[in-house]
């Protein structure tokens, strides 16, 4: 039973990290119709910046600079590229982000080389036990931070004028623009938030039990894709639920690896994709996604 609870808790914390990334996908998709295939690189960029700076300016300043820098990259991409292509087909926008991702990932991989950088979390690899249930401190803080950020996000989304503008422009861009909502600004802000969330997720993703900042983190970030798709790409609540489902499923599959040996070693790594495809077969627009309506 303790194993199960431990796995559940770890799954939830992993899911919280995925949810942060997936939330970024959802916000960006809602505001600018772009499916960001460059999120893995953004996340790696954030973690890399933090790891590089913490030696000289300390962890918390490095953390803030890293998040801001990643958000800056998101803003730059939105202003310079996405904004010019408003109304282009979703697929070509996705391909555009793939192009950026190739460049960023190549450069980051080159800079990281074969090292594994340490992000320098002050909590290191400490372990917490709560009545027989164990979790690393990193994952615990990840859970708390994610909960706070997600709560903040949903409050802003519901009540702030930005949130209203965002929902309005996602509902019907043209009408929103006619009502005086600046679509460009909404989309820019969405990219800032999406990229910033990715950097925060990156920080926790490279902490224990993961060894550190290595190019492989990029593919871990890709597992947040199933989370976003599973919940429904245009649903922020869905991103949260999807993240948790994927996180728990992955933790369970890795934890009960020995019982699942007939599925092969390291099955946990592909569980997110298996779950995603199964869910999509039943619900093609994800759990909470709006069904595509076609009017003739």
């Amino acid at each position: 039973m303790n194993t199960f609870l431990t796995l559940l808790l770890n799954g939830i914390s992993l899911g919280a990290i995925y949810a942060l990334i997936a939330l970024g996908f959802a916000v960006i998709f809602k505001a600018s119709e772009v499916v960001s295939f460059m999120h893995g690189s953004l996340l790696l960029f954030g973690a890399f910046t933090i790891a590089k700076l913490n030696a000289s300016i300390g962890f918390f300043p490095a953390f803030i600079v890293g998040v801001l820098a990643t958000a800056g990259v998101g803003l730059l991409v939105e202003r310079l590229l996405i904004n010019r292509l408003r109304g282009a087909p979703v697929i070509s926008l996705a391909i555009l982000t793939i192009g950026i991702d190739i460049m960023m990932l190549t450069e980051l991989t080159r800079r990281i080389g074969s090292d594994i950088l340490n992000a320098g979390h002050p909590w290191g690899g400490d372990f917490v036990r709560i009545g027989g249930i164990g979790i690393t401190e990193n994952r615990l803080y990840a859970m708390v931070t994610a909960a706070v950020l997600i709560a903040l996000f949903f409050t802003a989304f519901k009540f702030s004028s930005w949130g209203v503008a965002m929902r309005a422009s996602a509902e019907d861009g043209e009408t929103a623009a006619l009502m005086g909502i600046k679509l460009g600004r909404v989309s820019a802000l969405a990219w800032v938030i999406g990229a910033g969330l990715a950097a925060v997720a990156g920080l926790f993703l490279v902490g224990s039990p993961t060894p550190g900042v290595a190019p492989g983190v990029h593919s871990v970030a890709l597992r947040a894709f199933p989370a976003a798709i599973l919940g429904g790409l245009d649903s922020t609540g869905g991103a949260l639920v999807g993240g948790l489902i994927i996180g728990i499923a992955e933790a369970m599959a890795s934890g009960y690896q020995d019982q699942l040996l007939f599925l092969g070693r390291g099955f946990g790594d592909v569980v997110p994709y298996v779950v995603m495809i199964l869910v999509l077969l039943v619900r093609p627009s994800g759990l909470f996604g709006t069904k595509e309506l076609t009017r003739v």
């Binding site: 499916v35 590229l81 010019r84 292509l85 282009a88 087909p89 979703v90 697929i91 070509s92 926008l93 996705a94 391909i95 555009l96 793939i98 192009g99 950026i100 991702d101 190739i102 460049m103 960023m104 190549t106 450069e107 991989t109 080159r110 593919s219 890709l222 894709f225 199933p226 798709i229 790409l233 599925l263 092969g264 070693r265 390291g266 099955f267 790594d269 592909v270 997110p272 994709y273 298996v274 995603m276 495809i277 999509l280 077969l281 093609p284 627009s285 994800g286 595509e292 076609t294 003739v296």
Partner: protein, 395 residues
């Protein structure tokens, strides 16, 4: 684009077709140019050194794969990141069916059948894999399909890494030499000299690749001109419109997945032959992304564009590697700085961004623009504007 037809043209063919005399004149010039190119390609092995021939073989394989992906993504508008998986199915089937059992470190199974059987099996099995995925594809649209197909690559990697007896696991396994009815494509047996040049493995494979790529090219060209081809293009422009016109939407989606993955399977077999060995590692998401880069750079929806893109994306890193010493900014591996492969990747990334921003019709569109500058303006009624054509291309 000569191989795309907008719905409008389909409805009213008489309205937009150019006068027949002019068309046949242009066609003959085109045919002439193609013939010259073909002759040049045929005599290449006599004059060119081995490195270029090997690069050429890799390019031919990539051309086949890219044409297949372009049918799916460019022509039909189904975003797929699963191409690497179908390549893997083709390559692994080939080495399994035609390879021998044995292995030193790990036990490897193989059927030891003739390589031709292996190649056909690879193509067929890849096609079946595509058909098996098509129920998923039929239900999903646009970006959901893209991400679901992304999942297929990772699941495929896992499966391949698990069945080490078939795939050789992490270390991979060597690919058996190709042979056709007793004629081997190795360096000897039988020894062959043409015009005083010894035809070794590289020369022989060049012709194999050329022949297969040509067949793939002509087949795709004809497919696009035929009724199914038009149906696929209508599917891309609007599924509803296609259904209203009587196109069996799900059926065509399944069939295009079948054809595209069969192309990928053949490309996978050539890949195995070109590298000489296969490992599951080689068929990761990277490869899918490279294929996507090829068709985007070449021009979505255009068969010739796919070939151009494949040439560019496949040859560039190899050429960079060969001439690393004499290129600025590029260093030999291990010296720090930008390595050849990385330089090529940076360039692809940049090229993709630029193409999406400025020339959605890719290299083919760029070529059209340049030739358009030299072409005389028609005196009577202007032909349909090129620009709208190229934007239509891209969706």
């Amino acid at each position: 684009m000569s191989d795309t037809t907008t719905i409008g043209e389909q409805l009213a063919p008489a309205a937009s077709s150019t006068p027949p005399t002019r068309r046949s004149g242009l066609l003959s010039l085109r045919t002439l140019l193609l013939l010259v190119a073909l002759v040049l390609l045929l005599v290449t092995p006599i004059y060119v050194e081995e490195f270029w021939l090997r690069t050429g073989f890799a390019v031919f394989g990539a051309i086949i794969g890219a044409i297949g992906l372009n049918l799916l993504v460019g022509t039909t508008g189904q975003l797929s990141l699963a191409h690497a998986f179908f390549l893997a199915v083709g390559a692994i089937t080939y080495v399994y069916v035609s390879g021998e059992s044995g292995g030193t470190a790990e036990v490897i199974d193989g059927l030891g059948l003739p390589p031709l059987v292996g190649m056909v099996a690879g193509v067929l099995l890849a096609g079946i894999a595509g058909l098996l995925f098509s129920p998923v594809a039929a239900r999903l649209r646009g970006i959901y399909l893209g991400v679901a197909s992304l999942g297929l690559v990772f699941i495929g990697q896992h499966v391949l890494n698990t069945y080490t007896r078939v795939t050789g696991g992490f270390n991979g396994r060597t690919a058996p030499e190709f042979s056709l009815f007793g004629f081997t494509f190795g360096s000897t047996d039988p020894d062959l000299f043409v015009a005083g040049v010894k035809f070794g493995e590289a020369e022989r494979l060049w012709y194999l690749g050329l022949a297969l790529a040509l067949v793939a090219y002509v087949f795709a060209k004809n497919l696009l001109r035929s009724r199914p081809g038009r149906a696929l293009q209508t599917l891309r422009d609007s599924e509803v419109a296609a259904a209203v016109m009587g196109v069996d939407v799900q059926g065509y989606k399944a069939r295009v997945f079948l054809v595209s993955s069969m192309y990928a399977g053949l490309a996978g077999v050539l890949y195995a032959l070109s590298i000489g060995s296969v490992a599951p590692e080689s068929f990761a998401l990277d490869l899918s992304v490279l294929y996507l880069a090829m068709i985007v750079l070449g021009g979505l929806g255009s068969v010739g564009g796919a070939a151009l893109g494949a040439l560019f994306v496949t040859a560039l890193p190899l050429v960079f590697q060969e001439y690393a010493g004499s290129l600025p900014f590029v260093n030999e591996p291990g010296q720090g700085g930008v390595s050849a492969g990385q330089a090529a990747r940076l360039l692809f990334g940049l090229a993709i961004v630029l193409v999406v921003l400025f020339e959605p019709a890719g290299l083919v569109g760029l070529g059209k623009r340049i030739t358009g500058l030299f072409r005389r303006k028609p005196r009577t009624s202007p032909s349909p504007p090129r620009t709208t054509d190229s934007t239509k291309e891209h969706s």
